[in-house]
Symmetry: D2
Subunit: 354 residues, 4 copies
């Protein structure tokens, strides 16, 4: 299979990395040839992800360390690198690999914000601001044209994806008031990553639901507003509350917006169906509400709209798998689009049910 | 113990009934002498609630059927009846027992709404409209004076309690605009009752979160608005979305409201602390957000407030145990108040953690 | 794609049917052209499995009823039928389709037992005893030669698979005493099927673990003993306890056996590695214990062995996904082998993690 | 309430400590006057256990550090100390408090083993071997007489309790062969304590079941064998496998034993009912199997027996709440017995259901 693209995954031992291993292992045009990690460098992949034990092509891969100065060396071994690294570290690795001619798909926040000052306010100093304008935002349905041929892709965050997919069609079609948009975003625990912490300790996650970072102080707020404003063609302000839910995977957004006079849920469904004719978004028919159970492990997103005539509002909703559509599967979808391949190439569309 | 009040629980085999068995078994002034059920009449309580097996005073109770015409007979055996029956059936049983001189605490929706026409719109014909004006709404912190000596108590619903507790102080103190108030209410599966159904089948509840009845079409909307309007002294309109969460117990509300100019989260906390000086509501200090895990099995409610200066909103939050504070424990608390006893008499205030 | 085999799935609305939809949709040599159901006939597949909504090739499939007399008609439309039907109904459908020339893969218990009398004792009358000798038991690693070219395949049950995979190598290699073998088998709730029932109601499954059918009275006992005896070349007796665990998918077996003198866990691992050189079974290295989390959604099984020198026993363990390796994925694997294709063709080997 | 005993809880911030706070807060003869912790000393109890926020008598307690040399000082403030400390630390604190005249109930393993050499093999050096013979093993049903007046109580471990309760009656009554006894013990995640770790990280505990420490290498093995041998009047050898289950609370044991000729499950139930006539153990009637759901939060244990005529074995089973009956509630029960009070004084017997 000499014509397979060679892929490296940096940060393969975390959850988005593990999800990439799952997805790329099933991709017909790629071969995983390098897996990177930091503390776990030197271990076999199957020690860190025992699910790969015995799987041809994965079981014997050994996790490698990677420093930016090794980029020219790595560039000889891989055509594409997916980065699942902490912010700042990701920008440094991404810049080095990009400069060395490797196509980069970055799953961190480092190349998502267009404005360096905003990045610095929320994340600290940016190690490669010169690349911010070169990176393409990897939301395939909304940035399809730009993604074509892209060599530096900033894959969106999970809360952002779940917020953007139901709201972008309404803003693009001027069906709703742009501000304020209230977004109540409920996420599974895997969104917190693989490092143990009290909030994610099983006995303290199970059977408990709690908001965290209430008051629009979550650092995904500027990314959501950047993309919603782009869709609206004018500034959008949101109120954002992330909520932790006792499940491993999935995000559900319920967003409350003020419709322009006369706008119905039907009009919203039409606008979304039109915008998402291509791509991997299902617009639910009237009477059906989204459920994260129906998208678990899948690259697809489900969006839905309900009219609240009693309160004079519209409820826009979306369910995705935070690690699949909210991270790794969407990154692969964006990469597919960049290569000119079908969006769904190699990606599971049917969820693991139940 | 000749001076214990004798209690009957009608509908003892369901979840709110089971919770009453737990709570009343530990109450120092009551003795459970009668347990009722319909299909399961004739079985021992310990067949239906195996957790009572071997417990003195409970293990050998036998479930009895009950028809309204048996009320005079039952009135000889019990001083108080807690009703955990379906709506309409509850009103019929409640009227018969009330007329027979039994103190009635009703956990159904039948005596909560003051307006018969509203009841009929959402639930169908009401079997005992003449009692609507006699029933006292059993929210102890907000109806304390009326509850004193009450002989017909309408215990509030779970979504209502979770909505009312954080919002009532703000409306009473005129800290927020009365409409629209957006209430996103996330409930555990036990809120759906003990009867198996596809939506509550373990493999289809676990690992999935989903809204149901979006668009303010849930029948608890008029009850919430009745009580919020009462607190506000003017009509309040809400937008209400209930969401099903993969956990057994608990409700979390995140409500989005528009503050009057200059109103801060601190002002909200002060108003709530003042209103809830007595009773079983904890106002969380700044920086702490509510978690259903911290109230599981407890009679207490946790409320919290966060200012969203970015969006110009306030987020009002509340966590309770839907079966305890949201149903059976609050019913007992209201009953305690009616009897002139301390709110917490016999009620657990420390949650089961974890 | 004229050269794709046309597949029908009877019983597509249940859990093994849903899993087949997921797996066969990703199979490169098959096309799902017919989906069957009983009560739900006439509905779109996407109403019953909303995860298929919008997925090309699945979203618009309509569930069809099927009666055995329609077999000749169906034989014109499908080359292969996977049956996910209740027992007896499955034998009737299977016989009709087999007679009509359709290759049949049956996921029920109907063609697994070789002895008609045993079947009748546990399941009632068998509608097609003449086929019992024609059916091939679809455990690919143990019946590989027989499966070649098979046109009637009896896919094994989930408890059986999890018991057989760790024990067969030990019995074949005469490393252990054949009786009694103690099998403690812990299964997720999806093993109980999609029909709601009190035992599977979320609030009564979650946070509870319980044995059911203790005392070797589960009807999978004869199937396990049939296959273990075949492996041993002599009669094997088991003690079997199935235990229900609060998770959707997965089975874990811990089996306790008496080793022949001098037999070590290393010897067990060697025997298993040798037997499973081909196929989809991973033998865990010393020091690693199986976890259902590592096989969720995957066609692979994990087996492990630990020596208990203290008690003079061996513990043989296995973890699988009950719906994948324990049902649908193993059925596809057996079908692949029957067709002469690689075991893993079209099957996910990397689990959904986490 | 001058006649309440004053209680200190050392290690109040962990799970068994938190459970003691819940249980002792509801005890009519005790008052919690001191709570200890190490890293968290100086914080309010309600910061560490937010469920105590606003609860009179608990909310304002401040966690204190404690070193053994402070024992004489503490002895002036408390009559009883419950120790929820790591092993070795617990023995040091326990010795100091015991010497200072405080009644000590120790929940660690430090005073459970009678043989110092066995302790050292599994735990390391013992800081106070001279107390091993003075400590009374706190299994109330089996050590009732010795507990009377005890001033140093070693509360049993959770796996031990769940193993001992179903097996002790059979061994005492010589109904079964003493060796080997196979114990498959399935525990909820809270058994691992409150410190986050990869194995207990929600996404890696949820939806996964796994054995740990297979091969009778768990350090509770000698404690189980000590107590079973005591019951049998002869040495007993066990094979022990602990299994981690995705739930917070609960332990279920399924034990496989060889009955003496002619022994039936009925005989086992009789022996157990006789032995447990007093105390807090329910023997389930024939046909009923134990479920951890039915004992959650309760001080009661459920035991059950099933005859396996097919394999010639008996299955002895037990379900408890690992933090309640398996730790804190049993410690309080033992303390009640030591004081001459009813076993159940202040203890919940009705579980939190669901």
């Amino acid at each position: 299979v000499a014509d397979l693209l060679r892929v490296g995954i940096l940060g393969a031992g975390g959850y988005t990395g593990a999800e990439l291993v799952r997805l790329l292992h099933g991709h017909p045009k790629l071969s995983i040839v390098m897996v990177g990690a930091r503390e776990k460098a030197g271990k076999r992949l199957s020690e860190v992800l025992p699910g790969t034990l015995g799987v041809a092509g994965l079981s014997d891969l050994v996790l490698e360390g990677f420093a930016p100065e090794q980029a020219p060396e790595l560039a000889k071994r891989v055509d594409v690198a997916f980065l699942c690294l902490p912010h700042a570290a990701s920008a440094r690795a991404g810049k080095a690999l990009y400069d060395a001619g490797v196509q980069v798909v970055d799953l961190s926040a480092d190349f998502r914000l267009k404005d360096a000052a905003t990045y610095e306010k929320w994340y600290g100093e940016h190690p490669a601001t010169e690349l911010l304008s070169k990176a393409v935002y990897g939301q395939p349905e909304l940035h399809r044209a730009e993604l074509s041929g892209a060599t530096l892709i900033a894959a969106p965050g999970c809360h952002v994806t779940t917020s953007l997919l139901p709201l972008a069609p309404l803003l693009k079609s001027k069906l709703i008031e742009p501000s304020p948009i209230i977004i109540d975003s409920k996420t599974g625990v895997s969104g917190g990553g693989r490092t143990p912490a009290p909030a994610f300790h099983f006995p303290e996650s199970s059977e408990g639901i709690r908001p965290y970072k209430a008051g629009s102080t979550h650092r995904h707020v500027p990314e959501i507003e950047q993309e919603l404003s782009l869709a609206a063609g004018q500034p959008v302000t949101i109120a954002f509350t992330p909520v932790l839910v006792p499940m491993s995977r999935g995000i559900l957004v319920t967003a409350y917006v003020k419709p322009k006079p006369g706008v119905t849920a039907d009009a919203c469904r039409s606008a979304a169906s039109e915008l998402y004719r291509d791509g991997l978004v299902s617009v639910l028919p009237a009477g059906m509400l989204p459920d994260t159970l129906w998208v678990r492990g899948s690259a697809r997103a489900h969006v839905a709209y309900v009219q609240d005539d009693h309160a004079g509002l519209l409820v826009a909703m979306c369910a995705i798998d935070n690690l699949a559509r909210g991270a790794s599967a969407q990154a692969v979808q964006a990469f597919n689009v960049a290569r000119g391949w079908p969006d769904a190439l190699g990606l599971p569309q049917v969820p693991l049910f139940p």
